[in-house]
């Protein structure tokens, strides 16, 4: 009896607390969907306020600067944690990873279930922070002290900030549980024949991201506890002696705000790789699948995935070039950051070689994978620019940075998630998503994503800083400096609306295809990885009759026909 069928016989309460990896995977994804919807609406509210700061919102009233900053904090937290960390790793990880390695379940089903409830609680705690006195925290997702350490530093820095910290604490715990589970499953639950070299690149990406999660989130949890102690127990880890915030003088000890920056970015930088690595893995696999050939330089792809993960822990200081770091440290972190460009470039070469003269099938998941490559290149190329301290001395905290991370992490990341959804949808409900709606969705999203984020580079080069609640109504020479960027900001707002509106096509497609989509044939994409194996393969996955015979993407081309040998098929290559 498979877990899926056993589920249908359970009574309601027990199914609520299911440990089935498919059900949990879908729940993670639904939670991410709720988070991405909320985060998107918040970004639209921010875009409206930036361009028309006097606009009164229905059911809310005029937006005050602290409301804008609360939106900044919530948008960043929701998108980075609850969408870009939760969906690729916990969501598609739980859903697909066991199938891809021929395991019937995750190593620790109970931890998986516990993780879901922790994520859900973290989500509710975060949202609840908007409704307490003072509102949600205003210190951004980076929560630099003393702003985040002292309640008097601003509205939202009291109970709102406590709830933010509690939410991230819960999220961090859940992420570590998820990562431990993914790691243990990959190490111990691979079916016979699934050697490390035959692992799909998606699994390698989950593996690397899981290691990063355990390293990075452990440090974040420690930092959050220290910050909480500073706030409520009179310690001074991050609070310097003589700090005077809004009439509150700190006299009890001498700490360093820079310590938080080190701890936070030691987490924060690996975190963005946790978000993007699964998308890179899936993109590689999809390019091979739809180009019907082996992924170019498979071993190098594995090596670069691990290398990007490793270098990712050595670069946190590039967020601190102008934060008060020793200038020699700036040089060191500049070099380690530049080094990441090399494995990333190797991946791009491999992707280009895989699709070169391939005439691939332009299915919707393939389009999103190609979109991922494009956005990864465009967003990635501004990385080395920002990695040079002398340039960061001008570009730090401008819209240039906003453009950089939105293209490479947010947009490329979300393209990875779209590709995953369109690709694996038949596994979830036996139906294909609508292809023509999918193509419209892709092109509109692709074009409007560029329309939204490319102009931000220009605003940044002109000097426009991020985190500003408004650009008109400023005083001093700043008004003169920033006035020319207003036109750009208006354009960005219109494009952001187009980008958000295009997502309705995705939601419609989901709703329609769920019930009326074309019934999917077995292995609809002619894929070679195990999750598409016939049900006998899935059922006997951990049984003794089942074995993996080769690596993924084994396509062959005889003069008469083109065919493929999936990982589970026994026959040898007829060539």
């Amino acid at each position: 009896m498979t877990p899926a069928t056993s589920l249908q016989h359970r009574p309601g309460v027990r199914s609520l607390f299911t440990t089935d990896h498919r059900v949990l995977g879908i729940r993670y994804l639904l939670l991410s969907l709720a988070a991405v919807a909320a985060g998107t609406l918040m970004s639209l509210a921010m875009r409206i306020h930036l361009v028309w700061p006097d606009r009164v919102f229905p059911f809310f009233g005029p937006v005050k600067p602290e409301d804008y900053l609360a939106l900044v904090t919530l948008h960043g937290t929701l998108m980075l944690f609850f969408v870009m960390t939760l969906a690729p790793q916990a969501g598609f990880g739980s859903l697909i990873l066991p199938l891809q390695i021929g395991a019937r379940r995750m190593a620790f089903p109970l931890l998986n279930a516990l993780g879901f409830w922790l994520y859900l609680l973290a989500f509710l705690v975060l949202l609840s922070s908007s409704f307490v006195a003072g509102g949600a925290a205003i210190s951004g997702w980076t929560a630099y002290p003393p702003l985040s350490a002292i309640a008097a530093a601003g509205p939202g820095q009291g109970l709102g900030m406590d709830l933010w910290l509690f939410s991230i604490l819960l999220f961090g715990l859940a992420s570590i549980l998820t990562a431990m589970n993914l790691l243990a499953t990959i190490v111990a639950y691979r079916c016979p024949g699934m050697t490390w070299e035959r692992l799909p690149l998606t699994v390698w990406a989950w593996f690397t991201a899981a290691i990063l999660t355990i390293i990075a989130f452990s440090v974040l949890l420690a930092a959050i506890i220290l910050l909480y102690l500073d706030r409520h127990s009179g310690t001074s880890f991050f609070l310097p002696l003589g700090d005077l915030v809004n009439g509150t003088l700190h006299t009890s000890g001498n700490g360093s705000p820079l310590l938080w920056l080190h701890l936070f970015w030691f987490f924060g930088h690996p975190e963005v790789y946790i978000a993007i690595l699964p998308g890179m893995g899936l993109t590689s696999m999809l390019l091979g699948n739809f180009a019907r050939r082996k992924i170019f330089g498979y071993r190098v792809m594995i090596a670069t995935t691990l290398l990007i993960g490793f270098l990712g822990i050595l670069v946190w200081g590039h967020h601190m070039f102008v934060a008060g770091l020793n200038p020699f440290a700036g040089t060191a972190f500049s070099i380690s950051t530049m080094a990441i460009a090399l494995p990333s470039a190797a991946k791009v070469f491999s992707w280009l070689a895989t699709i070169w003269r391939a005439r691939p099938a332009y299915t919707t998941p393939m389009l999103f994978a190609l979109g991922f490559v494009s956005l990864f290149i465009t967003g990635g190329l501004s990385g080395p620019i920002l990695a040079q301290p002398i340039l960061d001395q001008y570009l730090n905290n401008t819209y240039f940075v906003v453009a950089h991370f939105h293209l490479i992490m947010a947009m490329a990341g979300i393209f990875g998630l779209f590709a995953a959804t369109y690709y694996w949808f038949p596994l979830l409900c036996g139906r294909l998503m609508n292809e023509s709606l999918g193509r419209w969705h892709f092109w509109l999203t692709f074009v409007s994503a560029y329309m939204t984020f490319l102009p931000m580079h220009l605003a940044g080069l002109e000097g426009a800083p991020r985190h500003y609640a408004q650009f008109d109504g400023l005083h001093n020479a700043a008004a003169v400096l920033l006035a020319p960027t207003l036109l750009l900001q208006r354009h960005i707002t219109y494009a952001a609306f187009l980008l958000a509106a295009s997502q309705s096509l995705f939601l419609i497609n989901l709703a329609v295809s769920l019930r009326r989509g074309i019934l999917a044939p077995e292995n609809p994409w002619a894929a070679t990885t195990l999750e598409w194996g016939p049900s006998e393969v899935q059922d006997s996955a951990s049984g003794e009759h089942f074995q993996v015979h080769r690596g993924p993407c084994h396509y062959f081309h005889s003069p008469h026909a083109e065919g493929f040998l999936p990982q589970w098929a026994q026959e040898s290559n007829p060539e």
Binding site: G297, A323, S334, L342, F349, W356, R359, D392, Y394, G463
Partner: protein
């Protein structure tokens, strides 16, 4: 630094605001060089990708050589980024590795929610002691100057930063409450001010303003609800005009 002949003035120069610092032109050149390289790489990667998608399918036959397709371009990219890194490091080292000249003008900038204050040391060229407990903006002492310290008696505090053209400035950065970001786009300058008062850990940057005029000072580190309005003016004056301005303020502040 060997000047590279980059076609910056023609096509991209409208991107950056007017420059008014001695180190700015070299930095700008480096920005333009980076932008051109990034644009070229962006265009060629996309062209190769699109071309590869449009060409006739080639199945079977000899597979691409990994050396040619992967390692060779990788070596080229490595050299390119190495060149950019070294070039950037030389510029960084030139402004950051060494301290200011001893004759540099001493000024202190203090960030607080949500204003910048600037302090000049007066004729004795020494800043007086400040104490957080004495901070009282309503009583005209926003920085907490200690009246008991004689070095501080001739210090004067302003809300706009006034600097002479063509003289090096040693700027001491200080924050009273939370982290602020001191940024002058026209000077191609950005450095956070971190609260750690009175412990000798204030951050120093040095630079030489060149072109007289009025420029924007921004806060570029999220510091609270008034972050966006934490701006001030930088006024760069010709040498003689600065001397007059300073003499006026010193006379006013001398007890």
């Amino acid at each position: 630094m060997t000047p590279l002949n980059i076609p910056s003035t023609s096509l991209l120069s409208w991107l950056l605001p007017r420059d008014a610092s001695a180190h700015g032109p070299a930095l700008d050149q480096h920005v333009y060089l980076n932008l051109w390289i990034a644009l070229a790489l962006l265009a060629s990667a996309h062209l190769i990708g699109i071309l590869g998608l449009f060409l006739q399918r080639k199945s079977g036959g000899k597979p691409h050589s990994q050396g040619l397709v992967e390692y060779l371009p990788l070596a080229a990219v490595t050299l390119l980024f190495l060149f950019l890194t070294l070039r950037a490091e030389r510029l960084w080292a030139a402004t950051r590795y060494t301290g200011p000249d001893l004759s540099a003008l001493q000024v202190e900038a203090t960030g607080m929610q949500f204003a910048w204050y600037f302090r000049y040391p007066g004729p004795d060229a020494a800043f007086g002691q400040t104490r957080p407990g004495l901070i009282a903006p309503g009583e005209g002492n926003p920085l907490g100057l200690d009246p008991a310290d004689p070095r501080g008696s001739d210090d004067f505090v302003t809300s706009e930063l006034v600097l002479p053209a063509d003289r090096e400035v040693d700027l001491r950065l200080h924050a009273q409450d939370v982290i602020h970001g001191f940024a002058v786009p026209a000077l191609r300058l950005k450095q956070n001010a971190v609260p750690n008062s009175g412990h000798g850990q204030d951050i120093h940057i040095h630079f030489t303003p060149t072109v007289p005029g009025t420029y924007a000072i921004l806060c570029t580190q999220l510091c609270g609800l008034g972050h966006f309005r934490m701006t001030a003016n930088l006024r760069i004056l010709p040498t003689a005009a600065f001397a007059t301005w300073r003499a006026d303020h010193e006379r006013a502040s001398t007890p």
